[in-house]
């Protein structure tokens, strides 16, 4: 029997996944694992931290590595606690837009400001999917959701832009229709220090696609058609690319400097 090359990275008893047919999470999981394999990260020395939401389930329980599945929004401070105590571990946060930029928004902002030595991967499916498709901080203006049945009256947060402004060393945004550059960004981010943030816009066939009567394949086409490179994207489009790439010392080195000069 042939086995997928990434099978060794997955926890057998967690398979098959519980993700909905057409969900982008599988594509994101694949990109993360391929980047880890290419970067030759020893999964025994990697820790995944996740909060609550569909994307949080990507690493926990699927990845065959240490993982902490904590309260909604609190993955980043948990991850920082680990990294500060065990700097040699590769600490990676995977979460959704509601988890990371909504309820965990304050932690995200300050982790970026501190340039905390973490890689945060935010899967942006535009809504709170696990709880039924409610409006979130990244929901496009006008989109109907289960709590904005007449369309979203508010405007979405440009999370990647905010994180770049807050002081992160590396920020990029892609979609699940742009897996090559996504994997490349993750690979690059794995090799850097400081705060690294990769946003992936991802389809939710159940909570967004379902409401819009948009089949998963149509959602992928929509992502392709509505994405433009950073600087060329209009306000209604998804801006793709690397927002920032800095080499400032990460929090760990900054703390070392303060104590040891």
């Amino acid at each position: 029997m042939s086995v997928h090359s990434l099978h060794a990275f997955l926890r057998p008893q967690a398979l098959p996944t519980v993700f909905c047919p057409g969900c982008g999470n599988g594509l994101v999981a694949g990109a993360i694992l391929r980047a880890l394999a290419r970067a030759q990260v020893d999964l025994k020395k990697a820790v995944f931290v996740a909060g609550i939401g569909c994307a949080a389930w990507i690493p926990s329980p699927h990845f065959l590595a240490d993982s902490l599945h904590v309260a909604h929004g609190r993955a980043i401070p948990t991850a920082l606690g680990i990294k500060l105590r065990r700097p040699e571990l590769q600490v990676i946060v995977v979460g959704g837009d509601g988890d990371i930029a909504g309820i965990g928004g304050n932690h995200l902002l300050h982790a970026a400001r501190r340039n905390a030595d973490l890689l945060v991967i935010m899967v942006n499916n535009l809504v709170y999917a696990m709880t039924g498709g409610q409006v979130g901080p990244t929901t496009p203006h006008g989109l109907p959701t289960s709590t904005t049945p007449y369309g979203n009256p508010e405007y979405p947060l440009d999370v990647a832009g905010v994180v770049a402004a807050a002081g992160a060393n590396y920020v990029a945004r892609w979609t699940t229709a742009h897996l090559g550059p996504l994997e490349q960004s993750l690979l690059k981010a794995l090799g850097q220090e400081g705060f690294r943030f990769v946003e992936v816009v991802s389809p939710c066939p159940a909570r967004v696609g379902g409401r819009l009567a948009m089949a998963p394949v149509e959602a992928m086409k929509w992502l392709q058609a509505h994405s433009k490179p950073l600087g060329q994207a209009g306000p209604e489009e998804i801006a793709l690319g690397e927002y920032v790439e800095r080499t400032r010392p990460g929090l760990l080195r900054a703390l070392q400097r303060v104590v040891h000069g």
Binding site: V49, D66, L68, A79, R85, N106, H107, L255, V258
Partner: protein, 376 residues
């Protein structure tokens, strides 16, 4: 003979020094009075000793940093006061469910809301026990002197490690800013965390009194740590009733079955008591002083509780069987009162002496007057 050194410390400094003596090497916190000196002391001391100090963006972040650090093998603590303690309940519940050792010090001030900032109170007793959603218990200790602040912090850190649980130390503003001489031993006990031997599950234990061993991140266990209901290996089981019941019962029993070992109190004059007092925290000091004021006139039995959850019931029962009545003084509208009424169970009348607001202590003189009245 004595290898102890004398130090002149405030309650807050004694808490920080007790934590350092017990091996605390990770502190994350958010500023709030009347607890700030603990954080400032740790900010100075921890980096010098190879420990980690970080000021968090809020109390929620602070306690989750502790959870992460603890799984990365740190002895982790934070200190806060009422409003911050409320925010930390989320993380405390998570720490109970994931069996994460850590210490939260709550230096009580007047509430609810922002109350009267930094004025002493004892309104968080029930919150320390029951502040989380769901079925859970955790150990709560309450110092009554600056010496206690040191010793009970050591005990709290060791209890967290031994029982793999979050522990709360309930101080109050009066104690936090009282300066006293402390006898500091050259060395204190440090309970080492138990590591898994062979194929022991990280979230299951055949013996309910004993917590499961705690693996360390980065050791190749492919650990699953989750705040959701889980089986002994950490796999989420979010619909099976039996798995949930087995888990929460074990978490509860882990504390409850060790209650005698956790029990700390000071009982004075119980055997010949005409009247009794049950108190904790800074009020316990006033109770002992009131007893002295009445020496030769009224025989007063005093129980000062140092473990306030699970509660030592035996000394309260013993006092109730001897005394004509028991007085419960507290800086609250009545929380310890409920405990004492439940434990006394009609053996004698239980009277309340309540003072709230303004940060005023309960003075020994006013307690003595009340006791004289009760004694008749």
């Amino acid at each position: 003979m004595s290898s102890k050194v004398r130090r002149f410390w405030s309650g807050n400094i004694a808490v920080a020094e007790g934590a350092l003596a017990a091996g605390v090497d990770f502190y994350a916190g958010y500023p709030i009075t009347p607890s700030s000196e603990i954080m400032e002391h740790m900010a100075r001391e921890l980096p010098k000793r190879g420990g980690v100090f970080l000021q968090a963006e809020d109390e929620i972040a602070a306690i989750f940093m502790l959870i992460g650090a603890s799984w990365a093998d740190a002895r982790a603590m934070t200190a806060t006061s009422g409003p911050g303690f409320s925010l930390m309940q989320e993380g405390l519940g998570m720490a109970v469910m994931t069996e994460t050792p850590l210490l939260v010090v709550d230096v009580m001030r007047v509430g609810p809301g922002t109350g009267q900032a930094s004025k002493a109170a004892q309104g968080d007793l029930m919150q320390a026990r029951w502040g989380r959603h769901g079925d859970q218990i955790l150990p709560v200790f309450a110092p009554s002197s600056v010496q206690d602040c040191f010793e009970l912090t050591v005990l709290a850190v060791n209890t967290a490690e031994k029982l793999r649980t979050p522990v709360v130390l309930l101080s109050d503003e009066l104690l936090a800013h009282t300066w006293e001489t402390v006898q500091v031993p050259a060395e204190v006990e440090r309970v080492e965390r138990r590591r898994p031997q062979g194929n022991e599950p990280p979230f299951g234990s055949p013996e309910p009194r004993l917590p499961p061993p705690m693996p360390r991140l980065g050791d190749g266990h492919a650990l699953l740590v989750t705040g959701s209901t889980h089986d002994p290996w950490g796999m989420r089981q979010t619909s099976d009733a039996q798995t949930h019941r087995a888990l929460v019962e074990r978490l509860w029993q882990k504390i409850w079955l060790n209650r005698t070992e956790l029990s700390r109190y000071e009982a004075v004059g119980v055997e010949e008591a005409e009247v009794g007092i049950v108190a904790y925290g800074s009020v316990g000091r006033s109770a002992l002083a009131a007893r002295k004021l009445l020496a030769g006139n009224v025989r007063v039995g005093v129980v000062v509780l140092k473990t306030v959850w699970p509660l030592p019931e035996e000394p309260i029962v013993a006092l109730a069987e001897q005394a004509r009545a028991i007085l419960v003084p507290e800086l609250s509208l009545g929380q310890l009162l409920w405990d004492v009424e439940r434990i006394v169970a009609g053996r004698c009348p239980v009277l309340h002496f309540s003072k709230v607001g303004g940060g005023l202590p309960i003075y020994p003189e006013e307690l003595a007057e009340k006791l004289r009245e009760v004694a008749g």
